[in-house]
Amino acid sequence: MSADTPDNTNQAAEAGPALSPLLTKVTELLGAMVLEHHSFRSDDRIHVERENIVQAATILRDDPDLAFDLLLDVTAVDYYGQPDDFETKPMIWDRNTSSMRKLPLRRHQLVLPPKGPHPRFAVVYHLMSTKHLHRLRIKSRVPEDDPSIATLTTVWPGANWLERETWDLYGIRFNGHPDLRRIYLYEEFVGHPLRKDYDKRHEQPIEPYVGPAAKEPRRPQ
């Protein structure tokens, strides 16, 4: 932790002295880009601002001591109505008392305000180094009114389909993505089904198939 970020230092002190060697190295290298770090069940995780995600990913990939050469997974988490990650602040909004109260609550007791004080989505990246055999999770919060983040296809081309899937199911745009189409669902589908406010039982009409000749060319050719 660098000295000019007092908030982060406090958080690190709260998390306890047992900082894993990987997190020590990552926080040294990324400095103030790491908003928060956490270890749970030997999984290491850092939070990064979405503006810094490409820079952080490039550093993590290119540093010889970290060498994260394998991007395993890109996905998102919808913290709809939740103030923050569950493990850092296990609190929940209570309508009756109009205040935060502690977990656990039963699921049907959840009262979801339309917008939490924190960004609603978190984009989650899972990295692996086949050289040093360590794993890291990067999270980056994305607000509801502008759900977009820079693409990582320039760093790992394998992010291509994974980001398309995240766009399809969560509606998070990846700026600069070469081919941001839906991947599972059809183009006429309305909404993004893995969002928490999308009802599971909601049905949509199946659009008749339109042949490729009738559609516009999908690839710039």
Binding site: F40, L72, D73, P104, L133, R135, R137, G158, Y184, R219
Partner: protein
């Protein structure tokens, strides 16, 4: 039509002494777009590939998946942790036990549960049985698509023998629902060891037969050697794992690099290829089948005694007799039915080596009995993403072996 005829007639006279390809350079040929799939007799798996062809050469391809999307992750958010295990059977339906094990290990990591050693050994046996079945299907189906029908019959017979073993350990052949959180559905039946050894010996004979029919077969080698090539570093950058990555020479195997269950207690080799083409992918799979058999044999020898289920009231189902006679067990039963097991709030990622690569489950919990999010990192999905680049530049006929060796499983890729 008339244009084409005229050019055919005129060109050879105008270009005397030149080779035939040059003579046709001025032919006005348009790239042809063909729809390969979604239900094509030469593909196993529901996927559509739009191919742009110039002659028989593939100049562009667009792989479209999603035909089997069933909303696995949305469904997992609505059930208790133990209710989601049957859904994982339907991810990779040709190696269901591997998915069961992967999901349960992730949930146990969240609960911080250590399963008993006997359970770990039996889970390993089940996983390797599944892996053999999956590889035999992948090789057999790919060979059949290249018109080698006999090896497929041999290999599918071997797969049937593996399904017999799966039947013996959990009573089901395909959709196994084998594991429980903190254990497995049942202990091994009596006499399983001899039964398994007999079935494995039969299987290995069938594999040897198929090996002799395929590996030195000139047609099979001509069609697989050198096709579907992809450089090893690009494989890593595209997130490819499993036999396809190892066929490129990178020995990345989750069983070896981050051992789970008891993979650190038994001997096995990680086969790697060197050319990163379809033939090496075939060879790596063949060798992995033999290694899996070796692992099962060791596990059968080393199998310890003891319980197979963990005794943790958050996840174990109490014995029925005690539920009706004792209050604590009655309460446990009520809590499990009404609330599910309550894990601590947090998020975990756990990976296992499935038949096609790294199968990871990323579970976010808010402290209730249901997952806030349950994400499946499917190996088929990441493996399919660079398929486009393996196809471009090759012949139309190479699409079939390349796609076959990717072994895309629709249920896992589309979830």
């Amino acid at each position: 039509m008339s244009d084409l005829l005229q050019k055919n007639l005129v060109a050879p006279n105008n270009l005397k002494g030149t080779g035939r390809p040059d003579a046709f350079d001025d032919l006005n040929t348009q790239p042809m777009r063909i729809q390969f799939g979604p239900s094509h007799p030469a593909t196993h798996g529901t996927v559509k590939i739009e191919l742009d062809l110039e002659g028989e050469r593939v100049v562009d391809a667009d792989v479209q998946v999603g035909y089997l999307h069933r909303g696995f992750e949305k469904e997992c958010e609505t059930g208790f942790f133990y209710q989601n295990i049957p859904y994982t059977d339907r991810l990779n339906y040709s190696s269901a036990i591997l998915n069961n094990v992967g999901y349960c290990l992730a949930v146990e990591k969240l609960f911080d549960i250590k399963t008993p050693p006997r359970c770990n050994f039996i889970r390993l046996i089940g996983s390797e049985i599944s892996r053999i079945a999956d590889h035999l299907l992948a090789i057999g189906a790919s060979a059949m698509e290249l018109a080698a029908f006999t090896p497929m019959l041999y290999l599918l017979e071997g797969r049937e023998l593996m399904y017999d073993l799966s039947d013996a350990i959990c009573g089901a052949r395909v959709t196994t629902n084998f594991t429980r959180i903190g254990g497995i559905s049942a202990d091994l039946p009596d006499g399983f060891k001899n039964f398994a050894i007999e079935r494995l010996d039969k299987t290995i004979k069938l594999i040897d037969d198929a090996d002799r029919l395929l590996t030195e077969n000139p047609i099979f080698r001509e069609r697989t050697e050198g096709t579907g090539h992809f450089p090893a570093n690009d494989l890593l950058a595209w997130g490819v794992t499993g036999p396809i990555l190892r066929a490129g020479g990178i020995p990345y195997d989750v069983r070896r690099v981050t051992p789970y269950l008891v993979y650190d207690q038994i001997d096995f080799d990680v086969p790697v290829g060197e050319h990163s083409d379809n033939f090496d992918r075939y060879l790596v799979r063949m060798e992995e089948v033999r290694q899996s058999r070796r692992m099962i044999m060791q596990c059968l020898d080393k199998l310890p005694d003891g319980p197979v289920n963990v005794d943790d009231p958050r996840v174990r189902w109490p014995a029925k007799g005690k539920v009706f006679s004792r209050m604590e067990e009655l309460i446990d039963q009520f809590k499990l039915v009404l609330e599910g097991g309550m894990p601590p709030a947090g998020e975990v990622y756990h990976a296992v080596e499935a038949a096609n690569g790294e199968l990871g489950f990323y579970i976010v919990s808010d402290g209730t009995g249901k997952a806030w999010k349950c994400r499946c990192r499917a190996p088929s999905f990441s493996n399919m993403s660079p398929l486009k680049h393996m196809l471009i530049g090759g012949q139309l006929a190479d699409v079939v072996p390349t796609f076959g060796m990717m072994n895309m499983i629709g249920g896992e890729c589309d979830r």
